[in-house]
């Protein structure tokens, strides 16, 4: 222990509190306040200390991303990407390699850094009301970050995070707790009214609010079924194909991205069969694929924008096989994949406009079972399948480049991506790829990013969600996604993002 300064005198703190309360005991005072103040909330968040003096933005974003479990983020990796893409794109810097003192130790953008770690919800120029802040922390379990401009010059600013607060509805003082990235300043507990005018020994001005979010909201019940497949378009519509007791049903939902929920409509009977897949494009074209007795079938429908329902056309047989899957693309074109005798095939399909499909010739691309296919922009695709033999129990993914003129897919390198049973795959614009699968009885999600130059996918860590028996996922071009899970016969949907 270091020496105690002889000039310094100390006094017990407890009497300071008890004297102010007519000398009642401390425990009685604390108990009384605990009751009258309501339930305070403190999220288990501890901001990392910033590794460079200008890196509050990188430290906040990294800490928030780690809090939501969206990846194994590090400050120097976040800084490297931000500086090279958003701040100083004149040359490539490697901020994990000792350049940090010079080129890398610079100010950065929190919004784009939070977006990089897939933890941004929205930005606002306004300071949240106490009830709004309490709701974010208590109900949504979401951190709120903000920017302080230091007075009087406002030339310099600092980003930090509110991780706890008292309940403002109880009428007591609204207190907040911050978790800060500064080395000698882990944060403060103070009245919201005093913040940030009295913060970190100085006066600050609140200039920006950054609402953060984990990737998935709470589940919404959406009926019963043993399995379901989901598809979404860029207009906020979503369609599901549900298997229940050997019968197939479809359902249409409207996605509310603000409340992060799906307003599902009434289910419509599609027919007898086994899933199968469903695809919905931005024009409202909808395709359902399913199988019966090792034969492949489809039905077509158009989404009625007024009633938000699907009226299915006649059933059509399109060949032999099992477990068919499809991915809608632009211009009434889609990519189909299926399994036949342990061989995986793919081909393109063209909606003719007369309730029929023109099919390309199917082409084999791998061995396996339970194949799923995803495509985006008419150029990129990803297939996901379960292994067989020595590879049983593993899921494999392969990126591909679609060449419509030659009616083929140029496949990249196949990677083992998960230990688990059946999975779903989806692909959005901007090379965003997502997998869903069941691992140890729970819904698992894994995001990846395709490198178009190498035709390979870089995968983020697996995120485990709720218990389920089966799951499927669909993403739109903005990175918003919907999961649909079945758990012991009950179906639930979750709205989230890449």
């Amino acid at each position: 222990m270091s020496a105690w300064p002889e000039s310094l005198t100390s006094f017990p703190l407890e009497p300071l509190i008890t004297k102010a309360h007519e000398n009642r005991t401390l425990s009685a005072i604390v108990t009384e306040f605990a009751v009258t103040q309501g339930v305070s909330v403190r999220l288990p968040f501890v901001a990392q200390k910033q590794l460079q003096c200008e890196w509050c933005w990188a430290a906040v974003a990294t800490s928030v991303g780690l809090f939501y479990g969206t990846g194994n983020w590090t400050q120097c990796e976040v800084a490297t990407e931000q500086i090279n893409t958003m701040i100083k794109a004149d040359k490539i810097r490697h901020c994990c390699d000792g350049l940090a003192q010079s080129d890398c130790n610079i100010d950065g953008y929190l919004f784009f850094s939070l977006d990089q770690v897939r933890s941004v919800d929205r930005w606002s120029p306004f300071r949240p009301a106490p009830s709004q802040l309490y709701g974010k922390l208590s109900h949504d379990k979401q951190l709120v970050c903000f920017r302080i401009a230091w007075l009087p010059t406002k030339k310099r600013a600092h980003f930090t995070t509110i991780c706890g607060c008292t309940d403002p509805s109880q009428g007591g003082p609204f207190l907040i707790e911050t978790s800060d990235t500064l080395k000698d300043y882990p944060g403060a507990t103070l009245a919201y009214d005093d913040f940030p005018m009295n913060y970190n020994g100085a006066s600050g001005e609140w200039t920006d609010t950054f609402y953060t979010a984990g990737r998935f909201a709470q589940t919404t019940a959406c009926g019963n079924g043993e399995r379901a497949i989901v598809s979404i378009n860029n207009g906020g519509d979503c369609a599901s194909l549900i298997l229940r007791g050997g019968q197939l049903f479809s359902n249409v939902g409207r996605i509310d991205y603000l409340s992060k929920s799906v307003n599902w409509g009434q289910q419509t009977a599609v027919g007898v069969g086994t899933l199968g897949s469903i695809g919905l494009d931005d024009a409202g074209n909808c395709v359902a694929l399913y199988t019966k007795n090792d034969r492949l079938f489809y039905r077509l429908a158009t989404l009625d924008p007024a009633t938000r329902t699907l009226s299915w056309g006649a059933e059509s047989d399109y060949g032999s096989g099992q477990r068919n899957s499809l991915a809608m693309m632009d211009h009434s074109v889609f990519l189909e994949a299926h399994e036949d005798q342990g061989i995986l095939y793919t081909r393109a399909g063209w909606l003719r406009g007369d309730d029929k499909i023109d099919w390309d010739t199917r082409k084999p691309f791998d061995n396996g079972i339970l194949v799923g296919i995803a495509a985006s922009g008419g150029k990129s695709c990803v297939e996901l399948h379960a292994g067989v033999g020595d590879d049983a129990g593993n899921l494999f993914a392969t990126p591909g480049k679609i060449d419509f003129l030659r009616q083929k897919v140029e496949w990249g390198k196949t990677q083992a991506v998960a230990v688990g049973s059946r999975g779903g795959v989806t692909l959005g614009a901007g090379v965003r790829c997502m997998l869903s699968f069941i691992g140890n009885g729970s819904t698992c999600v894994r995001s990846g990013r395709i490198n178009p130059e190498t035709n390979a996918i870089s995968w983020y860590p697996v995120q485990t969600l709720a218990r389920a028996d089966d799951v499927d996922i669909a993403i739109d071009d903005l990175g918003r996604c919907v999961l649909i899970c079945s758990d012991r016969g009950s179906l639930n949907s979750l709205v989230g993002r890449y």
């Binding site: 222990m1 270091s2 105690w4 300064p5 000039s7 100390s10 006094f11 017990p12 703190l13 300071l16 509190i17 102010a20 401390l26 005072i29 604390v30 306040f33 605990a34 103040q37 305070s40 403190r42 100010d107 950065g108 953008y109 929190l110 784009f112 930005w123 920017r147 230091w150 009087p152 010059t153 406002k154 030339k155 310099r156 600013a157 600092h158 706890g164 607060c165 008292t166 003082p173 207190l175 907040i176 707790e177 080395k183 000698d184 300043y185 944060g187 403060a188 507990t189 103070l190 009245a191 005093d194 005018m197 009295n198 913060y199 970190n200 020994g201 100085a202 006066s203 600050g204 920006d208």
Partner: protein, 195 residues
């Protein structure tokens, strides 16, 4: 006694006691019953000193200390002889009415105690009374114990964010200013990067 801690102006002790009770009753600043992560019964507070802040403009203008502003009063929270946190009290125009109270946990308290112990070994401090202050330049992430009397100023940084300044070493104002000048001069580059 080489270091002379000034007496703070009158503080609304009833308000302070209530605010500390409110914090202790919540799960902020530690679990219920705690402040700065320590049971209230185990906490003591040390003689207060004033909290001053300065700016990057003051560094550039060579007025690091001359332009510093007294902002609040700082009470170190201790568990035994270890610093565990701080209570910062900012007085209003009417000192006895509802001061702003902030509680901090973290290493700054212990580092301040160590800096004060080092200060007592400085010959100029032992020979004549010196007022200890706490100086922060938030925009430059600089924090130090500031030893002051007429014609004498020394700074003991408690965090070595600046590469050219070591923690718990004694510096003159000019040395600190020189170490921070380049960074302070870059402030204009950062003004636009809001989001």
């Amino acid at each position: 006694v080489p270091l002379v801690f000034p007496n703070p102006p009158p503080i609304d002790h009833a308000f302070l006691g209530r605010r500390l009770a409110q914090i202790a009753a919540s799960n902020l600043s530690g679990a219920p019953g705690q402040i700065a992560g320590v049971e209230v019964e185990k906490l003591s507070y040390a003689s207060p000193h004033q909290y001053w802040y300065s700016s990057d403009d003051a560094v550039i203008a060579n007025k690091l200390l001359a332009d510093a502003v007294a902002k609040s009063w700082r009470f170190l929270l201790c568990e035994g002889r270890t610093g565990v946190g701080e209570i910062e009290i900012t007085l209003n125009q009417q000192p006895q009415v509802s001061p702003a109270i902030a509680v901090h946990a973290g290493p700054a308290a212990q580092l301040s105690i160590e800096a004060l112990a080092i200060a007592e070994t400085i010959p100029e401090v032992r020979n004549e009374n010196v007022e200890p202050r706490f100086l922060r330049i938030p925009s430059l992430h600089f924090a130090a114990i500031w030893l002051h009397r007429e014609g004498f100023d020394r700074l003991i940084p408690i965090s070595a964010v600046q590469p050219k300044l070591a923690s718990l070493q004694v510096y003159r104002e000019a040395q600190v200013r020189q170490a921070m000048l380049a960074r302070a001069a870059r402030s204009d580059e950062f003004i636009a990067r809001r989001r």
